[in-house]
Symmetry: C2
DNA sequence: CCAAAAGTGTTAGGAGTACACCCATGG
DNA sequence: CCATGGGTGTACTCCTAACACTTTTGG
């Protein structure tokens, strides 16, 4: 079942323009937020970035980073902006996940949240813990505190999506440093899928995909030096 | 232009993270709509239900059925409500697709739309054309008119999703009558995927899945009568 | 009896899975 | 020299894909 390509086909173009005298909309409005499930792998465990809420509602609870979409701001731009505010970088894999809008999910009123998930390479995630957001911490997804709002559901949705995409795309690569050993890649997959994989089968499969190439470097940390690989750039 | 009324001033706070005094956000409200890509198969062609717009903007253009999410209404409820309004039934497969919120996608202002897609069984789709919405018509996916807003993009997104899900789920069943021949099922798959399939391989695969069972009826319309199948109910 | 669609098996290649040992190095 | 993780091959099964003829009926 290993199909490689997955990129969403957004090839059609929208017919633009034609806005004439606009009937001003006196229509129901809601608040729109983005929430971001920031995931990484540390110590071969899948972890999520959570922030302790300083204010009501759910004061003291942990929550996913997120915030309101500003006027005239694209959803994805809002997600990247929040990502930068909470993690200090925008240079991360980001993908829209699902949109949640059940009444009652936020006690302050009708809040529709567009959930995204982001992947932080393992070698960069320690940096994020030291950003200005003092109350942000990584939590292993097994072993979570109680979460604010419906964030537990959103998080579960993200983990499921990641597991599924791992099997037919190359998202896993977004969680590793630029150079990595095949064992590291395998540990990553095992951490996300939550099960052990056969070493020989895994290596054969990865190599047969032709997406990685050996570098000239070896990793000397272990006993026997391990070959470092990098992702073959498109082109 | 976009006269966003700001009646409800709830003075929200921007951050869920910074533990300091929060600058109240300007106007964190937007309009939220649902748009529904209603798909069916007629004459072994994948078709979509479009509605001719009676008012600006995009007056006279065809658009996906959709409308505003009401106060205190769940997104999915709004989608089902629109579905009933435009098609006369709610008893259809419905799945959230993606959320679009680019600034400028609606000339009237900031409108975030949560797109859904719905599947109408082939034997029920003719009924829908006769509902009260006189301007609603089925259009083959190849051979579309110019669409309002960014609806072409939303539609493309739905078709891609359907094609992908066809390969690893049973969504295809949602487009067929309760009893159907294997040839009909194959034609359906061919219509959606846009390519021919081998008859023997297709039948073997479908039967091996164990999801369908032969009924006691035959379809007499063709030359040689064909076995009618139905979906095996869970349990 | 002919046109039209229904139905049916075999083979070859590729992918996944299960499984056990030797190798290079640091301490 | 030994503990640790790196690295390798084979056999079996299963799924996929290619491929052609016979059967049943209506007209």
């Amino acid at each position: 079942m290993a199909t490689l390509n997955d990129t969403a086909d957004l090839s059609f173009t929208a017919s633009q323009g034609k806005g004439q005298a606009d009937a001003p909309l006196t229509k129901p409005q809601a608040m729109v937020t983005v929430d971001i499930v920031v995931l990484t792998v540390q110590d071969w465990e899948l972890k999520v970035l959570l922030i302790k809420r300083a204010h009501a509602p759910f004061q003291g609870y942990y929550a996913l980073p997120g915030g309101f979409v500003r006027a005239e701001e694209a959803l994805e731009d809002a997600a990247f902006r929040e990502l930068r505010e909470e993690t200090g970088t925008e240079d991360l894999y980001l993908e829209q996940l699902y949109t949640f809008g059940d009444p009652g999910r936020d006690p302050r009123g009708q809040v529709v949240t567009v959930a995204y998930y982001a992947l932080v390479p393992a070698d960069r995630s320690p940096l994020l813990a030291t950003t200005d957001v003092a109350s942000a911490h990584w939590f292993p997804i097994s072993g979570l505190p109680a979460l604010a709002f419906d964030h537990a559901r959103i998080l579960a949705c993200a983990v499921t999506r990641l597991r599924n995409k791992l099997e037919y795309t190359t998202v896993g690569f977004e969680l590793l440093p630029r150079k990595f050993t095949l064992t590291a890649l395998q540990r990553l997959h095992e951490a996300i899928l939550g099960k052990a994989l056969d070493k020989r089968n895994f290596r054969r499969k990865i190599l047969s995909l032709g997406l990685v190439m050996p570098t000239k470097e070896m990793e000397a940390t272990g006993r026997k030096p391990a070959q470092l690989y990098s992702f073959r750039q498109p082109g």
